[in-house]
Amino acid sequence: MITLIYAAIAIAFLILVIGLLRKPQTDEPDEALTEKSYAPSIGNGRWLHLSERIFDPSDARWLAEELSFPKLAKALMVERKRLAIRWLEALQASFEEVVRTPELTPSEAPEARPVGSWQMLWLTLRFKILVSYTLLVVKLFGPYHRLIPSFSWVPFPRGSERSFRRAALANSRSSH
């Protein structure tokens, strides 16, 4: 019985490989990516700071507590939740776009590996985990939930950002 299972694994794997290699990849962008709206521009500060407004609970509180419009406050919260999910999905789509961007001049020699590849991979994985977690929390509890833990104990990002900026600055200086 176990032999048959292993034989089935072997055959299924070969069929899968042949299927994947024969099926040409379409040149159209990924459907999952095109369905989601992209962030207008990653460099657009206003779009990024939109999150401040979306995730700020003061408007809903003001409606509910000061103006005593609980239904309106609830409607606002529902709308903000929808906006928050769209904002996070757009951020995710933009991130995917950055990740899938091929290098301008891919190095032919394998030894020409740029410094910090592991750090970049860590950043990518960290982002994917965090954004998935955030989306889950927002979908389940809404954008004003406080159960999102602080990740300040992760020491990496600030240091890596500094080192990347320093490297980019050094490169730009050397090119001038």
């Binding site: 292993y6 072997a10 776009e97 990740v99 961007t101 891919p106 991979l121 950043l123 990518t124 990002p157």
Partner: protein, 268 residues
Amino acid sequence: MGERGACGACPSPAGYMHIFGMVISYGAWLLEGLLILRGAATRVFRVFPLFYSYIVYIFCCSLGMYLIYWLRPQAYPSAYWIYYLVSILVEFTVLVEMSDQIFRPFPAIRNLGRALTIVISIALGLVYILPAILGSTHRRPALLDFALRACVTKVVILAVLFYAARHYGSKLGRNVAGLMFGFSIYLAMNIAWLAAGKAFDPALSSNILWVMAPLAFALCLLVWTVSLWELAPMPSLRPISTATGRDSEAVALELTRLDSELSKLLHR
């Protein structure tokens, strides 16, 4: 790569089966030599250094094993098993080479393939391969089981690499696709004959293994030789939205920017 199969220490079959197995083994050895010569002539070895070091290792070890087989046959079984077990581990370099090639154009996930290979190898090594060695009392079943489970682990890694390559839109060139296809044939055949070897009577399975093991590797080498005959450039990657390619520092800066933006949100 076990050209003589896991039955190296077992009595080899007599007559035509023995000759057939030996002929395939010599054929595989010649293909290894051809692959090395061609790699040196076209300088493909510069692009695939890990893969060619593996082929050189296999070529030299096969030669050494033939010499032991003809000159000191009594030492052959022990030498064979050492070579066979080391080869199973060395085969992981082929996977590392493939994983490096698949994600090379993408600076943000350049090491993703290598990370996947290492993580899956360690995880399955601890929970799937190691118990096979520790739990068995006899040498032959233990070695067959170890080889089988190592092959299944490699199949899992290859499947994950295939999926990741498609997910990130990495177009495999002829060289890398050939490497992956050849290795897939080899692993699938190995799983089939190792599973059969475990189930059948040792005498019967020895006859099958004597031929099947070198045949699997010879087929794999044939695919590798054809696909690596000359250096094929990587196909151009599809343009994604406005992205037209950028250097790795720019990608790193954008990654950190998006990452810190999300972190700010989480700190609230």
